[in-house]
Subunit: 340 residues, 2 copies
């Protein structure tokens, strides 16, 4: 069914089409690639490939274009990851090492990824849920008003206001702070919520009200999945290179506004495998003309978030996959370092 030469032909078609954005014919194919056979032979193979649904002819007397199925085969069997050049590696390393905080890491990463791939890049902020509490700080603003600061192992900092029923003395506040940190520090978010729930019960009676208010705000902040939905996007201008505006650019622009949609697009990729979703394989029918190359990141086997690129199905898969993998690895390493 799929002998070697036919696969070569498919690979050549994909590469040429990606490069030229035009249907590719048998003659141009044998010229640009050293296939060593005549156009007529290639035509036979093309007919077979079309029969099997890997390529498609926009109209009679036009060249062939890969189908989603064709891209799929290409990615699964034919693509060899383009290794990053040493210059690129060094650029990644120096750029990301200069980041000063979590926000900065995410923003530099997304920018970098869009520049490397010349496509739209998406980076999800690290989720709260799998990280641990590093420290909880309570700062008195007025006698009945505290600022609560929650510092997580990923470097994320959440801040909330706490309103108290009654004023609290500095000494009492210090005790509550110690109690809260005793229960939560170093503990995973999920477990910390449970441990904190016990606190108001065992606190000194005159500190119980304040403890209860603080714990309420704290658990609310920890369970706030708003930040789980945060994503950074970069490289929108690369959409300008798209050919067809209405079928390709507009739906994607709209999707980029909806962070929930983006997260669904990125999906729950495994931490070490680069996932490729081609055209209709994705969850949105409006985005049938776009592909997603994504992977998870996070130190070791902990999945903290996903990142990737989206672009036309006609995209450079090997290059994108390599770039996505490289950036994910660097980001994982940096998060790991900051975590010590």
């Amino acid at each position: 069914m799929v002998d070697d030469r036919k696969l070569d032909v498919l690979r050549a078609i994909v590469e040429d089409y990606v490069a030229t954005e035009e249907p590719v014919g048998s003659k141009a194919l044998v010229e640009r690639h050293g296939l060593g056979v005549s156009p007529a032979t290639v035509r036979n193979d093309m007919a077979a490939l079309e029969e099997e649904g890997y390529i498609h002819q926009p109209h009679t007397s036009a060249g062939r274009v890969p189908t989603d199925k064709g891209y799929r085969l290409f990615v699964d069997k034919l693509a060899t990851l383009k290794p990053m050049s040493t210059a690129e590696r060094r650029a990644i390393a120096t750029l990301l090492d200069g980041a000063v905080d979590l926000d900065d890491v995410v923003q530099r990463s997304v920018r970098l990824l869009s520049q490397l791939t010349r496509q739209v890049a998406i980076v999800q902020y690290p989720t709260l849920s799998r990280s641990t509490v590093r420290h909880v700080e309570l700062v008195p603003l007025t006698p009945t008003r505290l600022m609560l600061i929650l510092i997580l192992s990923t470097g994320r900092v959440e801040q909330r206001l706490v309103e108290l029923e009654a004023p609290i003395a500095d000494a009492d506040l210090a005790e509550v702070r110690v109690a809260v940190n005793g229960a939560a520090s170093g503990v995973q978010i999920a477990a910390a919520a449970a441990a904190l729930g016990e606190l108001p019960g065992v606190a000194r009676p005159d500190q119980a009200d304040a403890t209860r208010a603080i714990v309420a705000v704290l658990t609310e902040a920890m369970s706030d999945h708003r930040s789980d939905e945060r994503v950074a996007v970069s490289g929108t201008a690369n959409l300008a290179r798209y050919g067809d505006f209405d079928t390709a650019v507009r739906p994607l622009l709209e999707a980029l506004e909806e962070h929930v949609v983006l997260l669904k697009l990125l999906g729950e990729s495994g931490a070490d495998a680069v996932t490729v979703r081609i055209g209709h394989e994705g969850p949105y029918s409006e985005l049938a003309a776009t592909s997603v190359v994504a992977t998870g990141y996070g130190p070791m086997d902990a999945h903290l978030g996903s990142l990737g690129v989206v672009g036309p199905t006609r995209m450079d898969y090997p290059g994108s996959m390599a770039a996505v993998r490289a950036v994910a690895r660097y980001v994982s390493r940096i998060l790991d370092e900051g975590n010590q």
Copy 2:
């Protein structure tokens, strides 16, 4: 020179062109607006307006299109701000009141503004420089490593790591914390840097090194204008409604990637006046086809940042100006409340 009817004609041309995106002719004009004169009369006026550079004819036998100068006159003399409907006012109020922190305020505002105007909205994060220090917190992570947290009056929180030469005792740390807050709390950023500079000299000798390290990181964090350059963008999908891709959409998409460019576009608008920059009036020749409607925000007369919308010169100026002003007022009010 510019008698009343000619101004009426100009207003009608602008309104029709904005609505239809097509050159507007004399006949359609008298039909759609009750001008009470004949097409021939209007033609005479149009000839005069064109002579003076307010309108322009793409080619003979076509209708007229406003020039930048024409839009300018329209905005300055002819536009009456469309008041927001009560439904819109309520939508603004409820949406923005639900914001939990500064990030949330900015992100909700920018989204709201893009939805109200159906254009690309931009909101600059509040600058550090004009805000005051609310509190500085020092959290020991390891004996020689502190996390420094800087809380500003706008609600912004900055975090930095501090590496110490030698371990520091908790008691000493508490004293340094008091000293630092004594020097900086409630003081404007600019003044705080100076006050902090004195500290290492007057500190107890055994605390001088630690104080010096902390102050160094703190002044660095306060002078970090990186956050001054942060902007939020929303509504990119509205670009899809643009007609001409290459001259209008592409340059703007590219500009949206460059936050520095955006800040320059927003400009240093006064806090209470809505600024309109039309086409070539702006600083970038590539953006000759786009206009900017912007204003400053901030409680009272303090200018904390700018916000606005960008769109085609052919845009609904009265509606955009009203929306920009309304959102800026609500944002200012919210920042003021959070500041007490």
